[in-house]
Amino acid sequence: MAGPQLVMYEEEFHQISAVLERLLKESNGKVIFLVDKNGQLIANCGETQNIDSTSLASLTAGNIAATGGLAKLLGEKEFSILFHEGERDNLHISIVGQRVILVVIFDERSSLGLVRLRVKKASDELGRIFESLVKKAEAESAGVLGAESPFAEISDEDIDSLFSE
């Protein structure tokens, strides 16, 4: 199959959450989402309770995919930052390490310049975490760490029971 599977472990998840929390504070943002390019939500923080995060993740990925298509048409590798300005809230979307998408939602308590500045710093940190995450997942799938995949044990009955209703 194409591309390595994205796997998230407890340790990296906590590191990522810590980076996002700090970014939220330093950028004065409202909400932050981290989304994988296929549209899966990886992590979020801030005032997430009124936002449909699953839909947000899939639409953001669609947005990035469409913009990426445009970039290719123009001979660019990618457009790494998208900015959407609203009456109240604004969206700052950026690509981290060419594989994940960082979304910052902010209002008049912050500014585009501040968000850009803080995102840049956080992106470097996130990039490093994802790099080590990919390496770890690769090592694991090659069996170097000897860890068991919980899914190797899935039985046909397990699968059938999901559809029992």
């Binding site: 591309g3 599977q5 994205l6 998230m8 990886i42 699953t54 919980p150 699968i159 029971s161 559809f163």
Partner: protein, 195 residues
């Protein structure tokens, strides 16, 4: 490319409904949406034109319950079927775990079906997938119409690799869940093989 999250104990998988224009991909998702318990699904998003033709994609998140302590979530997507939206179609196949091909059973749509399958194969190849090696099922939709082609003919033309296939009528829901279950099962079996 499923996403396994050990931290929140979730598996996320992506299923794409593919097929020619007006074959009933969106109708499949709409039926699933109306018949699924609201606690097990999220909002359905349709990026469509004013005439309700899919412009970019439809999206429906479903959660199926737990398997070995992991919550299984399926994200269902449709592609725009019309020929000239090929650039968008290609984008949506990115990271796909399973594909449903929805065929239009009407005799006069046969060429469109064949063209769409070839297009699916080509677009998958661009992402590095081989249609013969990924979870894939075929649905013959609109079986209720008087001008529907005989089943044997459809199988012969559209299911040359003998994958699981289903007769359906997406407006009434016949065959819709059978199709979904079949592809979801194949995706989970793939996950099991995965490592």
């Amino acid at each position: 490319m499923s996403f396994i999250n050990y931290s929140s104990r979730e598996i996320n998988c992506k299923i794409v409904y593919y097929g020619p224009g007006l074959c009933g991909k969106t109708t499949n998702l709409q039926y699933i949406f109306t018949k699924t318990n609201p606690t097990a699904r999220g909002k359905m998003i349709s990026l469509a034109t004013e005439t309700e033709r899919t412009l970019f994609f439809d999206f429906l998140p479903l959660s199926l319950g737990e398997i070995r302590g992991f919550k299984t979530r399926f994200h269902l997507y449709t592609v725009p079927g019309q020929v000239f939206y090929d650039a968008s179609r290609k984008l949506i196949l990115k990271g796909v775990d399973g594909v449903v091909f929805v065929a239009d059973s009407q005799i006069e749509r046969m060429e469109a079906n064949i063209e769409s399958i070839e297009n699916l194969r080509d677009n998958l190849k661009e992402h590095g997938y081989d249609l013969d090696n990924i979870p894939y099922v075929v649905q013959y939709n609109k079986r209720d119409l008087p001008n529907a082609a005989p089943l044997d003919e459809l199988k012969q033309l559209l299911n040359t690799t003998n994958v699981p296939d289903f007769e359906a009528c997406a407006t009434t829901g016949q065959g819709v869940f059978d199709t979904l279950k079949a592809v979801a099962k194949l995706v989970l079996q793939e996950l099991k093989k995965g490592k």
